[in-house]
């Protein structure tokens, strides 16, 4: 669909059109009226506007279809296809009539950006859906895709020449739109997003990340429109140019409207003058957005008369641009510097993680992800391979969950093509695929997917012959992979070679072969390299030393994507030291800052005394010493991981001098540390009551040496929480204190859960569903309830917020759940709570229902037929006790 005529023909900058909304208003559109429907009902007005723009010099008309999606047309009694057909045809009519009139006249044709020369082109204009996507909003990616698909298909059928997605602020929504257009039509697709002066969209997407992600998805041109005037957009377009080879589009506003008069700040003369600098910058298409009129277009066309479009293919040939992988707002640039890839989201050999995936316990996964980012990971590897689970579906779920709480790019790690595609599709940004190898069959399965989503890819230097023995073999396979990538249209810059780490205690000579291969891939093949380094030290005592040393040497050889456990401090220290030594860390500021972290000083001192004794046969480790973890290691790795989950929380609650201890059942000293004579039960109760996470956890670790986990939960943690709940009811404690105590109890509980799960069992007194009902997005209350119920030992199935009625019923029936908790915060959504209850009753599933939420009252609850009215988390625990024991 893209043509390369641009290479042979240096054409002029394409003049786009200007504002539509303000023009319609001037000609009769009333406030509150739907502009697309108004235009459909007044085709003569719409056509006149288009003709004005053509007369002024527009070569591409944006059809009046910006808001013609099924959400925005709701309540107008008009379907998107109807409105799109009518308005695209009106634009086409205007274009054809103009062409007839100008027949025989030479046209300033557009051949770049997917356009042929000839008559004025008509773009299907696709604006934002108007609802935010999950996780911030309630609209799911697939539904957004479907909405865009409806528009795109209708637009193509109506005869549009191309599709323009514009004014988008959510990169994820843009991705849904691009996929919808590309997968369902053959229209060229342009995307322009809207940024604020700080170079971010309202939703935090950066110029660089937008450019890389959209370029990767294979659109035909990108740019910026709306929100700002030409002067403010200029530096942003300049930055965008660094990150893409695509033609650039700019369509600024006439500044901002005056709140009192509605007049825009910039007039046509000033606008054209402000646009002039773009001639030097090398943009391919220019126009105006809100507040601009045909007069603006006329002056703009005059300003750009005879200005050639830039030769973008020259840039492609010289590979001038910057590149990297990214989340919506964070770039990991492929500039040869080190990027730590966190390896912890991986169930291999970790029973607790496997359990979390089987139970769809996304909180556990998200905690792991947050801990990795907080510890310094810059990319997260995502592996969800658990036998018996639908890996593609799980990959999608985990990617969505992880990117809702961390802001770094992801690496999709799976051997299954379906899972790779599911992951790449769900990613908001540009990802790495881990991995292909030297086998042509695998390359044929994976590389087309990599190409489709424009991902980077890791190539493992192994093939049918198995693990290579020498550096030469590795280089040979790397070369083969490079060739395969290029055949699939994946540039060498996006290939990352993994030279494979073998265990030094088993195959000693291989360590140096691997390092040699890393050096040669870097220097001879000039490719990036990745390496999972932890495996080097397997089976050796005090593994960290070996891992650290190997890592440092590999970094020196050119390794730029080490795949490591970022929660291991010595390993991350080694990275920090390397960055200082290699000059990547300018003036060693990063290193100095890292070593000055007060949490570090505090935790370093008592290291020895806190190290838990581990059963014989497990690798040695301590919480503070960390270890060279591979993803396959288990207990201590998890211990280290969770300990790092919330350094800020632990620090905040580490204060002393609380008076709560006066309320303690022991009635003794008010300082936890000053009461060594107290039994463990009192000490843990005090730690929980004061909300001390680290202390609670440490005490739990100590108790687990002599007691069994369930006993600790039932005889220590729950009684402590009962006291907290009681004090909350008596208003001795207020809500944050109650929740701090719950958080502390969780810290202990998490450790117990991990231990019990290693033994193949799980902690559960029964299942409970919690959900914020359909239409409601306020879920902090529901989440508090969840935390408390989990502490009491129940397995909570959290369906999230805005949960469709049927999903609650289906889950309850499928998993045979005896207690359902529903929350609604708004009066407008209480009706959906009633519908959910009715549906549960109608299903015949035998269960109790508890309801809560700000607007709920006992009367409401009774009237709706709920079994329990639970005004707070404590009450929900009481209800659970009544139903499940």
């Amino acid at each position: 669909m893209k043509n390369d005529e641009g290479e042979r023909k240096m054409d002029q900058v394409i003049i786009l059109d200007g504002g539509m909304g303000t023009e319609l208003q001037r000609r009769g559109l009333r406030t509150g009226e739907n502009p697309e429907v108004f235009a459909m009902q007044h085709p003569e007005i719409l056509e006149a506007i288009h003709r004005d723009y053509i007369d002024a010099g527009s070569r591409v008309l944006y059809a009046c279809t910006f808001g013609a999606n099924r959400r925005k047309l709701e309540g107008t009694s008009h379907a998107p296809a109807e409105v799109i057909r009518a308005n695209v045809r009106t634009a086409l009519r205007a274009a054809e009539q103009a062409a007839d009139q100008a027949a025989g006249q030479a046209s300033a044709g557009a051949s770049d950006a997917g356009l042929d020369a000839g008559r004025v082109k008509v773009a299907l204009d696709i604006g934002p859906i108007g609802e935010l996507l999950y996780p911030l909003g309630t609209l799911r990616f697939d539904e957004a895709y479907d909405i865009f698909k409806e528009e795109a298909v209708a637009g193509e059928q109506a005869g549009a020449d191309l599709a323009v997605l514009e004014t988008l602020t959510d990169l994820y929504e843009a991705k849904a739109g691009v996929l919808a257009v590309k997968e369902n039509t053959s229209l060229p697709v342009w995307v322009t997003m809207t940024f604020e002066e700080n170079g971010r969209t309202f939703l935090g997407a950066s110029v660089a990340c937008a450019a890389q992600t959209l370029t990767a998805l294979g659109v035909d041109a990108i740019g910026i429109n709306c929100s700002l005037g030409p002067e403010e957009i200029y530096p942003l377009i300049k930055e965008m140019r660094d990150w893409t080879d695509l033609p650039l589009i700019v369509k600024p506003n006439a500044g901002l409207p005056d709140p009192r008069t509605g007049e825009y700040a910039i007039d046509a003369v000033k606008f054209a003058a402000q646009m002039a600098p773009y001639k030097e910058l090398g943009v391919s298409a220019v126009g105006g957005c809100c507040g601009t009129t045909a007069e603006f277009t006329r002056l703009l066309a005059e300003e750009f008369a005879g200005v050639k479009r830039p030769d973008r293919l020259a840039r492609v040939r010289t590979r001038a641009g910057r590149r990297g992988v990214c989340a919506a707002g964070r770039m990991a640039e492929f500039d040869g510097t080190v990027h730590v890839v966190g390896e912890r989201i991986n169930p291999t050999g970790k029973k607790r993680f496997q359990q979390a995936l089987r139970e769809h316990d996304m909180d556990y996964v998200m905690e792991t992800a947050i801990a990795e980012q907080d510890a310094g990971a810059e990319i997260l590897d995502i592996n969800v391979g658990v036998p018996g689970m639908d890996e593609a579906e799980l990959m999608r779920e985990v990617v969505e969950a992880v990117q809702s709480v961390v802001s770094i790019p992801l690496q999709i790690d799976s051997p299954e093509p379906e899972a790779v595609e599911a992951g790449l599709r769900a990613v908001n940004g540009r990802a790495i695929v881990n991995s292909v190898n030297g086998e042509p069959e695998r390359q044929a399965q994976i590389l087309p997917i990599v190409k489709k989503y424009g991902a980077a890819v890791i190539g493992l230097t192994m093939d049918k012959g198995g693990l290579p023995e020498t550096a030469d073999d590795r280089i040979r396979i790397a070369g083969n992979i490079l060739k395969a990538c290029e055949e699939h249209g994946i540039p060498a810059e996006d290939l990352i070679i993994d030279c494979l780490t073998l265990t030094v205690s088993a195959q000693q000579s291989q360590a140096m072969e691997t390092l040699d291969a890393v050096r040669r891939v870097t220097n001879e093949l000039r490719l990036h390299t990745a390496l999972g380094v932890s495996n080097i030290s397997f089976g050796l005592p005090e593994r960290t030393h070996v891992t650290e040393s190997f890592l440092t040497q590999a970094l020196y050889c050119g390794l730029d994507f080490p795949i490591i456990n970022p929660n291991s401090r010595p390993i991350m220290d080694a990275v920090a030291a390397f960055r200082a030594l290699s000059g990547q860390d300018e003036n060693c500021m990063g290193y100095i800052e890292r070593m000055a972290d007060p949490a570090r000083q505090k935790q370093a001192a008592p290291a020895a005394s806190q190290a838990p004794d581990l059963p014989a046969g497990r690798p040695q480790c301590s919480q503070t010493a960390g270890l060279g973890n591979t993803a396959g290691e288990t207990d201590c790795a998890d211990a280290a991981g969770t300990a790092a989950v919330s350094p800020s929380g632990a620090a905040a609650s580490a204060g002393t001098g609380s008076d709560f201890a006066a309320e303690m059942p022991t009635g003794s000293s008010n300082s936890a540390s000053a009461a060594p004579e107290n039994g463990p039960k009192d000490r843990i109760a005090r730690a929980i009551l004061k909300g001390l996470k680290k202390e609670t956890r440490d005490l739990t670790v100590e108790l687990m040496k002599t007691m069994d986990g369930m006993t600790i939960i039932n005889e220590m943690i729950i009684p402590a929480l009962d006291i907290v709940g009681d004090q909350y009811e008596k208003q001795i404690l207020f809500l944050p204190q109650l929740i701090n105590a719950a958080d502390a109890a969780c810290a202990g509980l998490d450790y117990i859960k991990a231990q019990i799960s290693e033994g193949g069992a799980s902690v559960s007194k029964g299942k409970i569903i919690v959900a914020t009902v359909e239409g409601d997005t306020h879920d902090i209350g529901k989440n508090i309830v969840k935390v408390v119920l989990e502490i009491y030992g129940y397995q909570v199935i959290d369906l999230g917020r805005d949960v469709p009625v049927q999903k609650v019923v289906d889950t309850a029936v499928e998993q045979d759940v005896p207690l359902i908790g529903l929350s609604a915060l708004m009066t407008t959504t209480v009706a959906n709570m009633r519908r959910t209850i009715d549906a549960l009753r109608a299903s015949g599933h035998d269960c109790k229902i508890m309801v809560g939420g700000a607007v709920m009252t006992r009367e409401y609850a009774d009237e709706m037929g709920a079994d329990f009215y639970v005004p707070d988390a404590k009450a929900s625990a009481d209800a659970a006790k009544a139903v499940l024991g």
């Binding site: 108007g130 602020t169 309202f202 609650s653 701090n740 997005t777 902090i780 700000a854």
Partner: protein
Amino acid sequence: MLSARLTELNENEILKYLGYRGQEIDPSLRTQIERCIAEVERAAVPRIVWKQLPVVENHVEGLTLAGSDMADLLANCSEVVLLGATIGAMVERLLMKSEVKSMADALIMDACASTAVENVCNNFEQDLRAEVEKQGLYLSDRFSPGYGDLPFEENRDFCALLDVERRIGVTQSPTHLMIPRKSVMAIMGIADHPLKMRGKGCENCPMFLHCQFRRRGVTCTGEPL
């Protein structure tokens, strides 16, 4: 031109949102609250959009403005000012992350965020009042859909009229909840004569619908209803 201003958050107001009733606040909790305030302030990007519109025959084009409060306002005012305010999506992301890391932090940050968007509205109101009074005119109290008897559903028209999606990045869910959640639509009237201001009672309070104190049968000052 009036701009979006987020000023120092009032800690007492945050405590009020948290259901505080004079409990002992130990230093660690104090530190925790201060840290949460700082994080919310760092994530918050205050944005406003406003429009001044004429009242013609007790009506503002594009709005329904049902209820007795609005009838009163429209009868007395020659113009209205519509306001849309938000502290942005990054706060929402922060709250999401905090809910996983520490529910207590999330709870406190939620209160900070509510206080912050209220703060932005208060600052705008104060700035506008000064401008209006300089012209010898009078500005009414601030009302939002969902307060008093102005229906919550009218948020939809406010959002459309102010073009909040393009101007400040606020969208609505199908049930007319605003996302980012910490966003507010409001209306104020301008008159050439002094206006009767609302009393201080619960019915005039923005928290009326969701007040935790009222549910327990008391006011936020501890008096019985």
